[in-house]
């Protein structure tokens, strides 16, 4: 079977299934946290892509083509899912988006002081420190913070190394 437009559709349909399952799962399953709903959506979408690719194979695609197309469409689907994950994650954690939303909620804009009253470093750090303390990445002993589980430290060091490779500096403040 010659390559045609149907070969492009499976990752896009897969993304549609992913979004539908993730949104409905998070909204209607009270016990499902956001991260798990993203994994659930991604997994179900991947099953959808596999089924569509298998169906196309049954319609008469040569087996060499099947493996190559399945691999290519699998990569496209995972990249689309990664973009969706980032979109959700930006809404959840990005400071720029939070400030944008605070400005959008005000009629005449906000001064710097008004922005900082609504959203400031103390609130932000407290939320993140709670997460880091709860999962043992950081611990507190006698009024001092220490690194606990080194996983987050390794990730941070990896990010700093990537920043050095790409930007020639380890931090935006260097």
């Amino acid at each position: 079977m010659e390559h045609n437009l149907i070969n492009l559709m499976s990752p896009i349909v897969g993304l549609g299934i992913n979004v539908l399952v993730q949104v409905s799962g998070f909204r209607f399953l009270a016990s499902l946290p956001l991260l798990k709903s993203l994994f659930l959506g991604c997994g179900v979408g991947l099953i959808g892509v596999t089924l569509m690719e298998s169906y196309l194979h049954l319609l008469g695609q040569p087996s060499g083509n099947f493996i190559a197309l399945f691999w290519t469409n699998g990569v496209i689907y995972m990249a689309l899912s990664y973009c969706y994950f980032h979109f959700i994650n930006m809404g959840e954690t990005a400071r720029r988006i939070r400030i944008l939303r605070e400005l959008n909620d005000s009629d005449n804009g906000l001064t710097m002081d008004e922005i900082l009253k609504r959203y400031n470093a103390n609130d932000m750090i407290r939320m993140r420190m709670d997460r880091l303390l709860n999962n043992g990445q950081v611990y507190e002993k006698e009024g001092r913070y220490y690194i606990g589980n080194p996983l987050m430290l390794w990730i941070s060091k990896g990010m700093v190394a990537m920043k050095r490779f790409m930007l020639g500096k380890g931090s935006e403040f260097d």
């Binding site: 010659e2 045609n4 691999w71 990664y82 720029r96 939070r98 939303r101 950081v138 001092r144 941070s156």
Partner: protein, 171 residues
């Protein structure tokens, strides 16, 4: 496999060009420049494929319109994935700053009160407000930050999706 090879080759080529440009000079509006580099590379790459295909080219060249679209789709999603990852390199994430600050304090740890003095609004919030001005999502009018139509669109898009999920403001 040619679609995968050509799509990823185009992406890698764009990445190398961007990396070389970044080594010469870091642009002020990095995300915008990155987008321009990747899309210019993509267009030139597809035109080159078309030219080579029309002049013989061999088995590796795409033959049909749908193959060109498939290569473009692969290149596009790889570019979007990279564009999504890039802000994490450009700006320091608060969790990264927290962990590296505690790590730098060494074996004696970091006093909790000192920690909150180091990680302040100047370090974590004000640079992101400046980013909104640089990216033309907000303007400063008589001491007040106001959204531009582009900023409003972004705020409403995320606001709509957060309400669809039934989630809080985030941040």
């Amino acid at each position: 496999m040619k679609i995968f090879l050509l799509g990823t080759s185009c992406f890698l080529l764009a990445f190398i060009i961007q990396w070389l440009i970044w080594k010469i000079r870091l642009p002020k509006r990095q995300a915008k420049t990155l987008l321009q580099i990747f899309f210019a590379t993509g267009i030139v790459f597809l035109c080159a494929l078309g030219f080579l295909s029309a002049n013989g080219g061999g088995d590796l060249m795409p033959k049909t319109v749908s193959e060109y679209l498939h290569i473009s789709l692969l290149f596009l999603v790889l570019t979007l994935s990279y564009l999504n990852t890039y802000p994490g390199l450009e700006a320091d994430s608060p969790s990264l700053v927290i962990v590296m600050t505690i790590h730098k304090a060494g074996d004696q740890g970091l006093p909790v009160n000192e920690f909150y003095q180091i990680l302040n609004d100047d370090l974590l919030v004000k640079p992101r407000i400046r980013d909104l001005l640089t990216d033309h999502m907000a303007v400063l009018k008589e001491g007040r930050y106001c959204l531009t139509p582009k900023g409003k669109l972004m705020a409403q898009l995320f606001g709509f999706y957060r309400s669809l999920l039934g989630a809080s403001k985030g941040g």
